[in-house]
């Protein structure tokens, strides 16, 4: 079993498009194969998360590939602080059991934002 995600660009600005391709080789055909753009927090507090977009492939074969495209939202932006980081990723999943994800950066500068002096 393997699922792979290849991003065309590892950093984009809000309003630009996150594109790439997911490929999968599974032992059986999944009922559902999905790709989503999501963010999550990491840090001192419990993880928070949000989904910005999702593409579902119905009746997917056991092997296949799918191009994806999501418009990067304006917020939240990729951020690094001492108490919390905000991370964006594209996740591919088969029937919610098997998932992989690839991190990317969404910010106006295409770099993780930090507070100056932090």
């Amino acid at each position: 079993m393997s699922i792979q995600i290849v991003l065309d660009r590892a950093a984009v600005a809000p309003g630009e498009t996150v594109t790439g391709e997911a490929t999968w080789t599974l032992t059986t055909a999944p009922k559902q194969f999905g790709i989503r753009l999501f963010w999550h927090t990491s840090g001192k507090a419990s993880r928070d998360t949000g989904i910005a977009g999702e593409q579902i492939v119905m009746n997917a074969a056991a092997r296949g590939s799918q191009r994806f495209s999501f418009v990067a939202p304006s917020k939240p932006v990729s951020y690094d602080g001492p108490l919390v980081s905000i991370l964006w990723a594209v996740e591919a999943f088969a029937d919610a059991d098997d998932t992989v994800h690839e991190y990317l950066i969404i910010s106006p500068t295409r770099e993780r934002l930090t507070l100056s002096g932090a």
Partner: protein, 181 residues
């Protein structure tokens, strides 16, 4: 400054730690056996930060079909076809705890408590030691703790009176550069 996503003491890593038995009979199989013998009702008892919730989460995964209930005032007694895992029972007024529990309808339940009570048999009393803290820190850092870190663990353990969660939160802040060690 260490960014939060690289802090070894970030919450998702703390939450992935397994319960550390500190004595015989504290393995999951032994606890489950006592729970079955007690009529599938019981409590994990221990002070703040001693691993009660972590242990009950692990028991829940072992049992399979369970429902997690965050008990607090205003939450109604639960009817469920799966085993209830009750956290926070002590948030209910003392007098209502027993009646709230009696009104729950489920094929079994496990609660976390700070002290024995509510008519629930004690399945395990969770305790902590400085060695457990050292062991957890070593796992989070991905390497054995050196003498300096071991001494820090012992100091923290004493300052927080054995509350491992509080110790790990302090280490998070120190790692983040908010607080000197």
């Amino acid at each position: 400054m260490t960014p939060a996503r690289l802090n070894p003491f970030r919450s998702e890593r703390i939450e992935s730690l397994a319960f550390r038995p500190t004595g015989p009979g504290q393995d999951l199989a032994g606890i489950q056996e006592r729970w079955e013998k007690a009529g599938r009702r019981g409590a994990v008892v221990g002070p703040h930060g001693s691993g009660k919730t972590t242990l009950v989460e692990q028991l829940g995964r072992r049992l399979g079909d369970t429902t997690w209930v965050d008990v607090r005032p205003g939450v109604a007694p639960v009817t469920s076809s799966s085993v209830l895992l009750l956290d926070g029972l002590e948030r209910l007024p003392w007098l209502t705890r027993r009646s709230w529990l009696a009104a729950c309808c489920a094929p079994g339940l496990i609660a976390t408590l700070h002290r024995p009570g509510c008519g629930l048999p004690v399945l395990l009393r969770t305790t902590t030691t400085p060695d457990v803290l050292e062991n957890l820190v070593a796992e989070l850092l991905g390497q054995p703790v050196d003498d300096h870190r071991a001494a820090e663990c012992r100091r923290l353990f004493a300052e927080h009176r054995g509350d491992l969660r509080a110790c790990l939160e302090t280490l998070y802040r120190r790692w983040a550069g908010e607080e000197s060690g």
